[in-house]
Symmetry: C2
Amino acid sequence: MKVLILAADGFEDTELICPMYRLKEAGFQVDIAAPEWGEIRGKHGYGVTANLTLDEVEPSAYRLLLLPGGKSPERLRIIPRVLDIARDFAARGKPIAAICHGPQILLSAGLIQGLTATCYHRISRELESAGVRYRDVEVNVDQNIITSREPGDIPAFMREIMKALENST
Amino acid sequence: MKVLILAADGFEDTELICPMYRLKEAGFQVDIAAPEWGEIRGKHGYGVTANLTLDEVEPSAYRLLLLPGGKSPERLRIIPRVLDIARDFAARGKPIAAICHGPQILLSAGLIQGLTATCYHRISRELESAGVRYRDVEVNVDQNIITSREPGDIPAFMREIMKALENST
Protein backbone atom coordinates (compact mmCIF):
# COMPACT_ATOMS: atom_id res chain seq x y z
CA MET A 1 0.00 0.00 0.00
CA LYS A 2 1.79 3.11 -1.25
CA VAL A 3 0.83 6.76 -1.63
CA LEU A 4 2.71 9.53 -3.40
CA ILE A 5 3.36 13.13 -2.36
CA LEU A 6 4.75 15.59 -4.91
CA ALA A 7 6.56 18.52 -3.31
CA ALA A 8 9.36 21.05 -3.67
CA ASP A 9 11.07 23.60 -1.42
CA GLY A 10 8.66 26.05 0.20
CA PHE A 11 5.87 23.53 0.86
CA GLU A 12 3.44 24.41 3.64
CA ASP A 13 4.96 22.27 6.38
CA THR A 14 1.84 20.98 8.14
CA GLU A 15 0.07 20.30 4.81
CA LEU A 16 2.78 17.80 3.94
CA ILE A 17 3.81 16.48 7.36
CA CYS A 18 0.42 15.94 9.04
CA PRO A 19 -1.08 13.97 6.11
CA MET A 20 2.20 12.02 5.79
CA TYR A 21 2.05 10.98 9.45
CA ARG A 22 -1.66 10.20 9.18
CA LEU A 23 -1.14 7.95 6.16
CA LYS A 24 1.81 6.21 7.84
CA GLU A 25 -0.37 5.68 10.91
CA ALA A 26 -2.84 3.84 8.64
CA GLY A 27 -0.03 1.60 7.36
CA PHE A 28 0.75 3.26 4.03
CA GLN A 29 4.25 3.64 2.66
CA VAL A 30 4.57 7.33 1.80
CA ASP A 31 6.93 8.19 -1.06
CA ILE A 32 7.90 11.82 -1.57
CA ALA A 33 8.98 12.85 -5.06
CA ALA A 34 10.67 16.18 -5.81
CA PRO A 35 12.61 17.70 -8.71
CA GLU A 36 15.82 16.43 -7.08
CA TRP A 37 16.51 13.65 -4.64
CA GLY A 38 17.24 14.60 -1.01
CA GLU A 39 16.01 17.10 1.53
CA ILE A 40 13.35 19.65 0.68
CA ARG A 41 12.47 22.38 3.15
CA GLY A 42 9.12 23.81 4.14
CA LYS A 43 8.19 27.47 4.68
CA HIS A 44 8.54 26.99 8.44
CA GLY A 45 11.89 25.24 8.20
CA TYR A 46 10.95 21.58 8.49
CA GLY A 47 12.99 19.27 6.29
CA VAL A 48 11.67 16.09 4.71
CA THR A 49 13.51 13.68 2.48
CA ALA A 50 12.39 13.28 -1.11
CA ASN A 51 13.18 9.61 -1.67
CA LEU A 52 12.37 9.79 -5.40
CA THR A 53 12.96 12.20 -8.25
CA LEU A 54 10.01 13.01 -10.48
CA ASP A 55 11.48 10.85 -13.24
CA GLU A 56 11.60 7.81 -10.96
CA VAL A 57 7.88 7.94 -10.15
CA GLU A 58 5.83 4.99 -11.37
CA PRO A 59 2.23 6.27 -10.97
CA SER A 60 0.66 2.82 -11.30
CA ALA A 61 2.28 1.78 -8.00
CA TYR A 62 0.27 4.24 -5.90
CA ARG A 63 -3.20 4.41 -4.38
CA LEU A 64 -3.30 8.20 -3.95
CA LEU A 65 -1.60 11.38 -5.14
CA LEU A 66 -1.28 14.13 -2.53
CA LEU A 67 -0.38 17.73 -3.39
CA PRO A 68 0.46 19.96 -0.40
CA GLY A 69 0.34 23.75 -0.71
CA GLY A 70 2.63 26.64 0.12
CA LYS A 71 5.15 27.72 -2.50
CA SER A 72 5.73 24.19 -3.72
CA PRO A 73 2.89 24.03 -6.31
CA GLU A 74 4.07 27.12 -8.23
CA ARG A 75 7.47 25.44 -8.62
CA LEU A 76 5.98 22.12 -9.67
CA ARG A 77 3.21 23.27 -12.02
CA ILE A 78 5.71 24.41 -14.66
CA ILE A 79 7.34 20.96 -14.86
CA PRO A 80 5.77 18.80 -17.61
CA ARG A 81 6.60 15.57 -15.77
CA VAL A 82 4.53 16.73 -12.76
CA LEU A 83 1.50 17.33 -14.97
CA ASP A 84 1.95 13.95 -16.63
CA ILE A 85 2.04 12.21 -13.25
CA ALA A 86 -1.18 13.96 -12.16
CA ARG A 87 -2.87 13.08 -15.48
CA ASP A 88 -1.82 9.45 -15.10
CA PHE A 89 -3.50 9.24 -11.67
CA ALA A 90 -6.64 10.88 -13.10
CA ALA A 91 -6.74 8.55 -16.10
CA ARG A 92 -6.60 5.53 -13.78
CA GLY A 93 -9.45 6.96 -11.68
CA LYS A 94 -7.22 7.13 -8.60
CA PRO A 95 -7.88 9.67 -5.85
CA ILE A 96 -5.97 12.95 -6.06
CA ALA A 97 -5.96 15.24 -3.01
CA ALA A 98 -4.79 18.85 -3.22
CA ILE A 99 -4.81 21.51 -0.51
CA CYS A 100 -4.20 25.29 -0.43
CA HIS A 101 -2.12 26.12 -3.56
CA GLY A 102 -2.02 22.42 -4.54
CA PRO A 103 -5.01 22.73 -6.93
CA GLN A 104 -2.83 24.99 -9.14
CA ILE A 105 -1.09 21.83 -10.31
CA LEU A 106 -4.43 20.24 -11.21
CA LEU A 107 -5.38 23.40 -13.08
CA SER A 108 -2.16 23.37 -15.11
CA ALA A 109 -2.74 19.70 -15.84
CA GLY A 110 -6.26 20.50 -17.09
CA LEU A 111 -7.86 18.19 -14.56
CA ILE A 112 -10.34 20.38 -12.65
CA GLN A 113 -11.77 22.63 -15.36
CA GLY A 114 -15.56 22.19 -15.26
CA LEU A 115 -15.52 20.53 -11.82
CA THR A 116 -16.27 21.93 -8.39
CA ALA A 117 -13.21 22.47 -6.19
CA THR A 118 -11.88 24.56 -3.34
CA CYS A 119 -8.41 26.05 -2.73
CA TYR A 120 -6.58 28.77 -0.82
CA HIS A 121 -8.82 31.86 -1.01
CA ARG A 122 -6.19 34.01 -2.77
CA ILE A 123 -6.14 31.73 -5.81
CA SER A 124 -9.90 31.20 -6.07
CA ARG A 125 -10.12 33.80 -8.86
CA GLU A 126 -7.49 31.97 -10.90
CA LEU A 127 -9.48 28.76 -10.64
CA GLU A 128 -12.80 30.44 -11.44
CA SER A 129 -11.36 32.20 -14.50
CA ALA A 130 -10.29 28.81 -15.80
CA GLY A 131 -13.78 27.37 -15.45
CA VAL A 132 -13.60 25.70 -12.05
CA ARG A 133 -16.74 26.01 -9.93
CA TYR A 134 -15.09 27.29 -6.72
CA ARG A 135 -16.71 26.41 -3.40
CA ASP A 136 -15.69 27.99 -0.09
CA VAL A 137 -15.89 24.79 2.01
CA GLU A 138 -13.41 22.93 4.22
CA VAL A 139 -13.32 20.03 1.80
CA ASN A 140 -14.80 19.39 -1.63
CA VAL A 141 -15.00 16.06 -3.41
CA ASP A 142 -15.79 15.93 -7.13
CA GLN A 143 -15.19 12.68 -8.97
CA ASN A 144 -11.80 11.50 -7.68
CA ILE A 145 -10.54 14.93 -6.74
CA ILE A 146 -10.45 16.02 -3.09
CA THR A 147 -9.59 19.67 -2.38
CA SER A 148 -9.25 21.80 0.76
CA ARG A 149 -8.45 25.44 1.48
CA GLU A 150 -5.80 25.64 4.20
CA PRO A 151 -4.09 23.88 7.14
CA GLY A 152 -7.13 24.23 9.44
CA ASP A 153 -9.09 22.08 6.98
CA ILE A 154 -6.71 19.10 7.37
CA PRO A 155 -9.11 17.15 9.65
CA ALA A 156 -11.89 17.23 7.02
CA PHE A 157 -9.37 16.76 4.19
CA MET A 158 -7.94 13.62 5.80
CA ARG A 159 -11.42 12.27 6.57
CA GLU A 160 -12.26 12.35 2.86
CA ILE A 161 -8.83 10.99 1.86
CA MET A 162 -9.18 8.00 4.18
CA LYS A 163 -12.68 7.38 2.85
CA ALA A 164 -11.42 7.48 -0.76
CA LEU A 165 -8.61 5.06 0.09
CA GLU A 166 -11.07 2.64 1.69
CA ASN A 167 -13.22 2.72 -1.44
CA SER A 168 -10.35 2.30 -3.92
CA THR A 169 -7.98 -0.57 -4.61
CA MET B 1 -16.05 13.74 23.17
CA LYS B 2 -13.30 16.07 24.34
CA VAL B 3 -9.53 15.78 24.68
CA LEU B 4 -7.12 18.19 26.37
CA ILE B 5 -3.72 19.45 25.24
CA LEU B 6 -1.52 21.31 27.72
CA ALA B 7 1.01 23.59 26.05
CA ALA B 8 2.99 26.81 26.32
CA ASP B 9 5.17 28.91 24.00
CA GLY B 10 7.99 26.96 22.37
CA PHE B 11 6.01 23.74 21.79
CA GLU B 12 7.26 21.46 19.03
CA ASP B 13 4.85 22.52 16.30
CA THR B 14 4.12 19.17 14.63
CA GLU B 15 3.82 17.38 17.99
CA LEU B 16 0.88 19.61 18.87
CA ILE B 17 -0.65 20.32 15.45
CA CYS B 18 -0.60 16.86 13.84
CA PRO B 19 -2.21 15.09 16.83
CA MET B 20 -4.72 17.97 17.13
CA TYR B 21 -5.78 17.56 13.49
CA ARG B 22 -5.86 13.77 13.84
CA LEU B 23 -8.12 13.94 16.88
CA LYS B 24 -10.41 16.48 15.19
CA GLU B 25 -10.57 14.18 12.16
CA ALA B 26 -11.89 11.47 14.50
CA GLY B 27 -14.58 13.84 15.78
CA PHE B 28 -13.05 14.98 19.06
CA GLN B 29 -13.28 18.52 20.38
CA VAL B 30 -9.71 19.51 21.17
CA ASP B 31 -9.24 22.03 23.98
CA ILE B 32 -5.84 23.66 24.41
CA ALA B 33 -4.98 24.97 27.84
CA ALA B 34 -1.99 27.25 28.52
CA PRO B 35 -0.81 29.48 31.37
CA GLU B 36 -2.67 32.37 29.71
CA TRP B 37 -5.58 32.51 27.30
CA GLY B 38 -4.82 33.34 23.64
CA GLU B 39 -2.17 32.53 21.09
CA ILE B 40 0.83 30.40 21.94
CA ARG B 41 3.63 29.98 19.43
CA GLY B 42 5.65 26.92 18.47
CA LYS B 43 9.41 26.66 17.88
CA HIS B 44 8.82 26.85 14.12
CA GLY B 45 6.48 29.83 14.34
CA TYR B 46 3.05 28.23 14.13
CA GLY B 47 0.44 29.87 16.34
CA VAL B 48 -2.42 28.02 18.00
CA THR B 49 -5.09 29.45 20.25
CA ALA B 50 -5.23 28.33 23.85
CA ASN B 51 -8.97 28.45 24.47
CA LEU B 52 -8.60 27.76 28.20
CA THR B 53 -6.30 28.84 30.99
CA LEU B 54 -4.92 26.13 33.26
CA ASP B 55 -7.28 27.22 36.03
CA GLU B 56 -10.31 26.75 33.81
CA VAL B 57 -9.54 23.10 33.05
CA GLU B 58 -12.05 20.57 34.35
CA PRO B 59 -10.13 17.26 33.98
CA SER B 60 -13.24 15.10 34.42
CA ALA B 61 -14.61 16.44 31.09
CA TYR B 62 -11.86 14.86 28.98
CA ARG B 63 -11.08 11.46 27.52
CA LEU B 64 -7.33 12.03 27.02
CA LEU B 65 -4.50 14.31 28.13
CA LEU B 66 -1.88 15.07 25.46
CA LEU B 67 1.51 16.63 26.25
CA PRO B 68 3.50 17.81 23.20
CA GLY B 69 7.26 18.37 23.47
CA GLY B 70 9.66 21.13 22.54
CA LYS B 71 10.31 23.86 25.11
CA SER B 72 6.73 23.81 26.36
CA PRO B 73 7.14 21.04 28.99
CA GLU B 74 9.99 22.79 30.85
CA ARG B 75 7.74 25.84 31.22
CA LEU B 76 4.75 23.79 32.35
CA ARG B 77 6.43 21.32 34.72
CA ILE B 78 7.12 24.03 37.31
CA ILE B 79 3.45 25.02 37.55
CA PRO B 80 1.63 23.15 40.36
CA ARG B 81 -1.72 23.33 38.55
CA VAL B 82 -0.24 21.45 35.55
CA LEU B 83 0.95 18.63 37.81
CA ASP B 84 -2.44 18.49 39.53
CA ILE B 85 -4.22 18.19 36.17
CA ALA B 86 -1.94 15.32 35.10
CA ARG B 87 -2.44 13.56 38.46
CA ASP B 88 -6.20 13.94 38.13
CA PHE B 89 -6.18 12.17 34.73
CA ALA B 90 -3.97 9.41 36.18
CA ALA B 91 -6.20 8.96 39.23
CA ARG B 92 -9.22 8.51 36.95
CA GLY B 93 -7.33 5.91 34.87
CA LYS B 94 -7.61 8.09 31.76
CA PRO B 95 -5.02 7.84 28.98
CA ILE B 96 -2.14 10.32 29.10
CA ALA B 97 0.06 10.68 26.01
CA ALA B 98 3.41 12.49 26.13
CA ILE B 99 5.98 12.91 23.36
CA CYS B 100 9.58 14.20 23.22
CA HIS B 101 10.07 16.44 26.30
CA GLY B 102 6.43 15.88 27.33
CA PRO B 103 7.31 13.05 29.75
CA GLN B 104 9.18 15.64 31.91
CA ILE B 105 5.76 16.79 33.10
CA LEU B 106 4.82 13.26 34.09
CA LEU B 107 8.13 12.93 35.92
CA SER B 108 7.54 16.13 37.90
CA ALA B 109 4.04 14.89 38.71
CA GLY B 110 5.49 11.60 40.00
CA LEU B 111 3.46 9.56 37.54
CA ILE B 112 6.04 7.49 35.64
CA GLN B 113 8.55 6.54 38.32
CA GLY B 114 8.81 2.71 38.29
CA LEU B 115 7.13 2.41 34.88
CA THR B 116 8.59 1.87 31.42
CA ALA B 117 8.54 4.92 29.16
CA THR B 118 10.30 6.56 26.28
CA CYS B 119 11.13 10.23 25.57
CA TYR B 120 13.44 12.49 23.56
CA HIS B 121 16.88 10.85 23.75
CA ARG B 122 18.55 13.86 25.42
CA ILE B 123 16.35 13.55 28.50
CA SER B 124 16.51 9.76 28.83
CA ARG B 125 19.15 10.06 31.58
CA GLU B 126 16.90 12.35 33.61
CA LEU B 127 14.10 9.82 33.44
CA GLU B 128 16.35 6.87 34.26
CA SER B 129 17.89 8.66 37.26
CA ALA B 130 14.37 9.13 38.63
CA GLY B 131 13.59 5.42 38.35
CA VAL B 132 11.85 5.23 34.98
CA ARG B 133 12.71 2.16 32.90
CA TYR B 134 13.62 3.96 29.66
CA ARG B 135 13.00 2.14 26.37
CA ASP B 136 14.32 3.36 23.01
CA VAL B 137 11.18 2.56 20.98
CA GLU B 138 8.86 4.62 18.75
CA VAL B 139 6.03 4.24 21.21
CA ASN B 140 5.72 2.72 24.69
CA VAL B 141 2.50 1.96 26.53
CA ASP B 142 2.59 1.22 30.26
CA GLN B 143 -0.70 1.26 32.15
CA ASN B 144 -2.49 4.36 30.83
CA ILE B 145 0.65 6.20 29.81
CA ILE B 146 1.64 6.42 26.14
CA THR B 147 5.06 7.90 25.36
CA SER B 148 7.05 8.57 22.17
CA ARG B 149 10.48 10.02 21.38
CA GLU B 150 10.15 12.60 18.60
CA PRO B 151 8.06 13.89 15.66
CA GLY B 152 8.93 10.93 13.41
CA ASP B 153 7.20 8.67 15.94
CA ILE B 154 3.84 10.46 15.56
CA PRO B 155 2.32 7.71 13.34
CA ALA B 156 2.95 5.03 16.02
CA PHE B 157 2.07 7.48 18.82
CA MET B 158 -1.31 8.27 17.24
CA ARG B 159 -2.02 4.60 16.55
CA GLU B 160 -1.74 3.85 20.28
CA ILE B 161 -3.66 7.00 21.25
CA MET B 162 -6.57 6.06 18.98
CA LYS B 163 -6.54 2.53 20.40
CA ALA B 164 -6.61 3.86 23.97
CA LEU B 165 -9.52 6.17 23.12
CA GLU B 166 -11.48 3.28 21.62
CA ASN B 167 -10.96 1.25 24.77
CA SER B 168 -11.86 4.04 27.20
CA THR B 169 -15.10 5.84 27.90
